[in-house]
């Protein structure tokens, strides 16, 4: 049957296809707010990715960083003397080999000048030796005696000038070297540490028109448990209360010092997310739905000590965490006048991964040479929520997070 011949289709199509009722108030404002929010999340996301990439890319360079080694006064002077007085086959290599690149580049113009002076001096010696009658004439040498004398004088003056310039430069470099040596002793790497971590985050409570029904919050994956709940509660119209409990999270954190202030961190984290939903009583009977999702995650990040004293330290940290849902434990309880008259429990697999980034700042308190307590607060942004069952992270991507723990420094 074609809908052209269908009078019902014709009637409804003709009257309703282009029907334009007045849209409700507040929609445009919500669209604008969502656009703003999207831009803000985009900025957060880019910032978090950039910070994480910067840390990960910078890590190998930081790990391979060696303290600057500069020649001592004695070795510098020895090289200088060798450079100026040794025969023709002497080159500037000894200095460039032993000084670091920066030093070599700084000295290069001087070294070139010195080599020229040295060459002139050697040429003079050769001429002087070969001009002896018994040695026989060397036709290739045609420098007049008077020129030789001038050259020798000039060379001597140049030698002195160059030696003085190089000495001044080396003195300056030695001062820098001394300063760097002090820094190097200070930049002793942070010692490895292991920490027991406990995370807390705020809970959320919502009524029937809250998280479940808010269209903007549909950021979660297909979940049979929530689907059944939707059907059984007339699409959440019968929901009296939903409580997204504060996530429980604990774990181990390992840190490895990269420098005195910077540490690379990784570890293992266990998280449990609970959602509790209660329906209005109907003829004295109500339902309670509980869902617990268990996650195991691996964080990866960096910690930087902004301030270090013997007792206190203040630091900032940035990390990214990948979490895998191990299982979702779902239970439905039926109550008649507060008496449990039915119970059902089932386990479901959780697909996909949950990614998050955390930016935080914290305070460490050293109570013993090896033991310190710490507490930190920050913001955690959750990504890939659409792959996960409904949980507290579906309702908002950005959550404050507080962490405390005990750290054992080796």
């Amino acid at each position: 049957m074609s809908n052209k011949e269908d009078k019902i289709a014709g009637l409804f199509g003709e009257r309703l296809k282009n029907w334009a009722p007045e849209p409700p108030q507040g929609v445009w404002e919500a669209v604008v707010a969502s656009q703003r929010r999207r831009r803000r999340i985009f900025i957060y996301r880019i910032t978090a990715i950039a910070a994480t990439l910067l840390l990960l890319i910078g890590l190998p360079f930081l790990l391979n960083r060696q303290p600057l080694e500069l020649p001592t006064r004695q070795t510098s002077e020895n090289h200088l003397n060798e450079l100026i007085t040794l025969p023709q086959d002497v080159t500037a290599e000894p200095i460039t080999e032993q000084l670091d690149k920066k030093t070599a580049n700084t000295l290069m113009p001087v070294v070139k000048t010195s080599k020229f002076v040295s060459d002139v001096a050697v040429a003079h010696n050769t001429v002087a030796t070969q001009s002896e009658p018994s040695a026989g004439a060397n036709e290739s040498i045609d420098i007049p005696a008077s020129d030789n004398t001038t050259d020798i004088a000039m060379a001597a003056e140049s030698q002195e000038a160059v030696q003085q310039a190089v000495e001044e430069m080396l003195a300056k470099l030695r001062d820098e070297n001394a300063a760097n040596a002090t820094d190097a002793s200070e930049s002793e790497r942070k010692k490895p540490a292991i920490a027991l971590v406990y995370n807390i985050a705020p809970a959320a409570i919502t009524g029937q028109n809250g998280l479940f029904n808010n269209i903007l919050n549909y950021r979660y994956g297909p979940d049979p448990f929530q689907g059944n709940m939707a059907l059984e509660t007339r699409y959440f119209k019968d929901v009296q209360e939903s409580r997204l409990e504060a996530p429980f999270s604990a774990g181990l954190r390992f840190s490895l010092g990269v420098s005195k202030r910077l540490a690379f961190e990784t570890g293992l984290s266990y998280t449990r997310l609970n959602t509790y939903t209660k329906t209005y009583p109907l003829d004295g009977v109500h339902l309670e739905y509980n869902q617990s999702i268990i996650y195991v995650g691996v964080p990866l990040g960096m910690r930087y000590d902004v301030l270090q004293t013997r007792i206190l330290s203040i630091y900032t940290a940035q990390n990214v965490m990948a979490e895998k849902g191990l299982t979702a434990i779902n239970s439905i309880n039926k109550f008649e006048k507060d008496r449990n008259i039915g119970k059902k429990k089932l386990y479901e697999d959780v697909q996909g991964f949950q990614l998050s980034t955390t930016t935080s700042a914290g305070l460490g308190l050293n109570v013993h040479r090896y033991i310190s307590f710490y507490a930190e607060g920050g913001l955690q942004i959750f990504y890939l929520n659409h792959t996960q069952p409904f949980n507290i992270r579906s309702s908002k991507k950005l959550w404050p997070v507080y962490q405390s723990g005990i750290r054992v420094n080796f």
Partner: protein, 179 residues
């Protein structure tokens, strides 16, 4: 201002252009949402979500076909996605159960207001309503509807036939039977 310029301005993030775009299409799209939703609150949510998507994906409009047609497709797809997400389309409530709707025995067909026709559509269970909307109003074929809703073409046809029969009863008009 032509459509192309309006789209360019919207893509540039010009708030005034976006508002103009919204004002142009929102009334008709709200009409679409009302047909797919159970009630006005849900329709409002569909409209809001659909316009967020429209602005997020406006760059994907290739100027093939009318802009209104493209916006309408986004709105319909948004509504279908929400219905699917809540498993509403699998809700197989029998039409016969719904007996509360008043029959309009004495009213000529063309005197039904849009609101009254909408109420009739909204009285249908979601699965029947969706198939009816897609076939009778949007003009999709049963084959296309089958693909969109992940049901067989036969299911789409039978749901439409039952919805149609039910609506005719409610309208009380035998003259709407096909010749």
């Amino acid at each position: 201002m032509d459509e192309k310029q309006l789209i360019k301005d919207c893509l540039r993030g010009d708030a005034k252009a976006q508002k103009r775009f919204y004002d142009t299409f929102a009334p008709r799209m709200y009409g679409v949402c009302l047909r797919y939703a159970n009630d006005a609150d849900t329709a409002k949510d569909y409209l809001q979500e659909a316009f967020i998507r429209v602005f997020n994906h406006l760059g994907q409009y290739r100027f093939e076909g009318s802009l209104e047609g493209w916006v309408r497709r986004v709105v319909v797809n948004t509504a279908l996605e929400k219905l699917r997400k809540n498993d509403v389309l699998k809700n197989t409530t029998e039409l016969e159960v719904l007996r509360g709707t008043t029959s309009h025995q004495a009213t000529p067909v063309d005197q039904f207001s849009e609101r009254e026709l909408l109420m009739l559509i909204q009285s249908l269970p979601p699965g029947f309503r969706t198939v009816f909307n897609l076939f009778a109003i949007e003009g999709y074929s049963h084959q296309e509807i089958g693909k969109m809703l992940n049901i067989s073409e036969g299911t789409s046809k039978s749901q439409y036939a039952r919805a149609r029969q039910w609506l005719m009863q409610r309208l009380g008009k035998k003259d709407l039977e096909n010749e």
